[in-house]
Symmetry: C2
Subunit: 470 residues, 2 copies
Amino acid sequence: MNRRFTLVAGFLVLVVAFAVMSTQTSTQTNQRNVSLIVANGTVVTMDAGRRVIANGSVAIDGTDIAAVDTADAIGRDFRSATTVDASGQVVLPGLINTHTHAPMVLYRGLADDLALMEWLTKYIFPAEAKTVSPDMVRAGTRLALLEMIQSGTTTYADMYYFEEEIAKETKAAGLRGVLGQTVIQFPVADAKTPGEALIRAEAFIKAFKGDPLITPAVAPHAMYTLDGPTLTAARDLARRYGVPTLIHLAETQDEAKTSQERFQTSPIQYLDRLGFLGPSVLAAHGVWASQSEVELLRARGVGIAHNPESNMKLASGVAPVPAYLAAGVAVGLGTDGAASNNDLDMFEAMRLASLLHKVHTGDPRVVSAVQALEMATIGGARALGMDRAIGSLEPGKRADVIVVSMASARQTPMYDPVSHLVYTTRGDDVRTTIVNGKVLMRDRKMATLNESAILAEARQWAVKVRAAVN
Amino acid sequence: MNRRFTLVAGFLVLVVAFAVMSTQTSTQTNQRNVSLIVANGTVVTMDAGRRVIANGSVAIDGTDIAAVDTADAIGRDFRSATTVDASGQVVLPGLINTHTHAPMVLYRGLADDLALMEWLTKYIFPAEAKTVSPDMVRAGTRLALLEMIQSGTTTYADMYYFEEEIAKETKAAGLRGVLGQTVIQFPVADAKTPGEALIRAEAFIKAFKGDPLITPAVAPHAMYTLDGPTLTAARDLARRYGVPTLIHLAETQDEAKTSQERFQTSPIQYLDRLGFLGPSVLAAHGVWASQSEVELLRARGVGIAHNPESNMKLASGVAPVPAYLAAGVAVGLGTDGAASNNDLDMFEAMRLASLLHKVHTGDPRVVSAVQALEMATIGGARALGMDRAIGSLEPGKRADVIVVSMASARQTPMYDPVSHLVYTTRGDDVRTTIVNGKVLMRDRKMATLNESAILAEARQWAVKVRAAVN
């Protein structure tokens, strides 16, 4: 009886142990293996519900986001050999800079506080005439990419010359770019005529269409630097290949005046008359727009790149951003080129967007912190026509993710992560930058770029730039 | 002969050796021994000639600057056991924050994007009513001091409650403060009546008058929160002791409206009618001032604390800063309290002063980088009536010096250090902060404050603050 009991008991213990083991095994089997988990942060998703997860994680599989949930749920459902610990930090979608001229970082601070024409004709144009080359564009782009990765920008829209060199460097660094080959009426470094520029633009589109990181685009410079037929040809080229069109539009009062004199209408109305405006057009600035033009841009599906710091520093004016947002226009934020800014910090773009429109309207409720963050993420994605792929942390979207420190004295205490992201955070607080599932910076260490070599090279270019304007 | 030659030669060698030694000794004797040398930086002096020394050093002896010159000249004339190497960095006078409420850092980001009255009555006043105490003021001040030292502020003007606690903490941390005990009509944490507040203010003045770091001041809150007799009594108290008077003035359109309704005149005219305005008055904001009032403030010798970020975030309006500067009014910069800013970064105050007035006037030449830096240094010193002691790097002035890194990607390349200080530099770039000859932070390491303890304590206070507004 005693022996039989022992045998039965022993058998039962074995059964229970086996059951427990098989449960554990099956749990492990049910966990999906992913390439990377960003774990235990305050996750600001920017999804449709603007969900903020106090202790959350993001599971990344290859180039895509697999799941966004509480740290517990992700820990239960996913496992990965690689984890980025985001404890005490904020995890959010990578920032989208919708307007810049990357290589112009080499001209930052070359000249400030001048009237626009003096600044352009005495400094920027001579510097560009004497220094823009494939080599300069590559060196400047690398410096800009370094700065963007370090300050949490994961996608940027660019308009410059030798855009294929910018594309190659951007791909090598691992950033996402909507890169527009410039078309302009007068002779520039990479094209003697606008016809040549159009040929260049087409070759550029063919070379990069379908690339996972680079979206090639056509960048007719502006309505006042191009004639009607060239504007139309550039737009047709973009339409033919189904790529975005990037253009400066209604930036200054001078542009509005020029348009009025030449065409007896405003820059926006003029482009509409040409049949230029449409859903894949991203208009940089849009400062001088009437309420009816705001509604026209909305009706045409045009996106706006709002550049508050450049508009302030160059005294271009104040874009009607509250009106754009109220009308439902897709508005993104941009820094503009660093020659007129003088850096590529999108946190500063958010802060200035919020501050500028409050004081301009006299209403402190205008452009709230969450609206500023929207413009820098999902709004920018909409303006670029890429909101199905980027702009928020949601399963199925590309894994463009940043991790931001909130440990500094100036960020202490923290009542609301979104307030802090907009009002007290700088690009330097970004610790980790992930694009397309790949870690480009981890704890401020660059993975794809050689920081000291890039800085040394930029300082060498500065000697040539200085000589060019002396 | 051979022996004699050897003897003579030996004698000559001795003579020469002695001569060389005595020359070296006399060189050493002529070198003045000083307590600290900040060596080999780009020295932005902010002296009358706005001299910038490409490779310069600052010799500091005790609390004072002994000399500012090329690195070679200082190396020849001075020696010190302690040297701060500023190679590749910029050396400039410590920044002067002319308006803040230090302990309010504990309320930063508590509520944003609200109409002023809702923000005050639903959040700030309830939080203050339930949490302001000597303990809270000490904890908040320590956090503010940490942030200020880390971001290069060496002197700050403050208006708050329990100002003696603020003074003790400021002295302990080694910062310079112009600290104003608040006088206000309604009951507050440290005084049930304005009479009590005046008694407090007098005791505070007596306790700290003559202190090398603390300048006690009287801080009547504003013309709309005090009756005429109390305003006059506060001003008389300051005059009796020869200390500064700090007041909020012409900040909002509501204040102007209230003044018009009650006194049929503007806030500035009202104070002048009371005989309040004079050379030792520092008026914070001065947003709603007409051209004739700008000239009145100049005639009375009143200084202005301009707070661009607070004025923007609270949508108070745009102060006529170009008019103040043109009239010769002493204008300093301030951050205002971090509840409305949301940090104490004076680099951002400089940048916003420059950007705001450019876009507001439509003229990109307005408030140049050097003018912004002037307001944050020598201009602030003038506004505080302390320009003989601080605000520039000149022999005989107090040794308030900061060393700023220029090594980041966003600061590369550098054509002009002043442009970079204003347009691309943040408080976090400050490496070393020296006040009154004492190093308070060296290479980001705090000398007088315990950073982790201060941050932990602030997070504990945040729990109480959050409970107070729920």
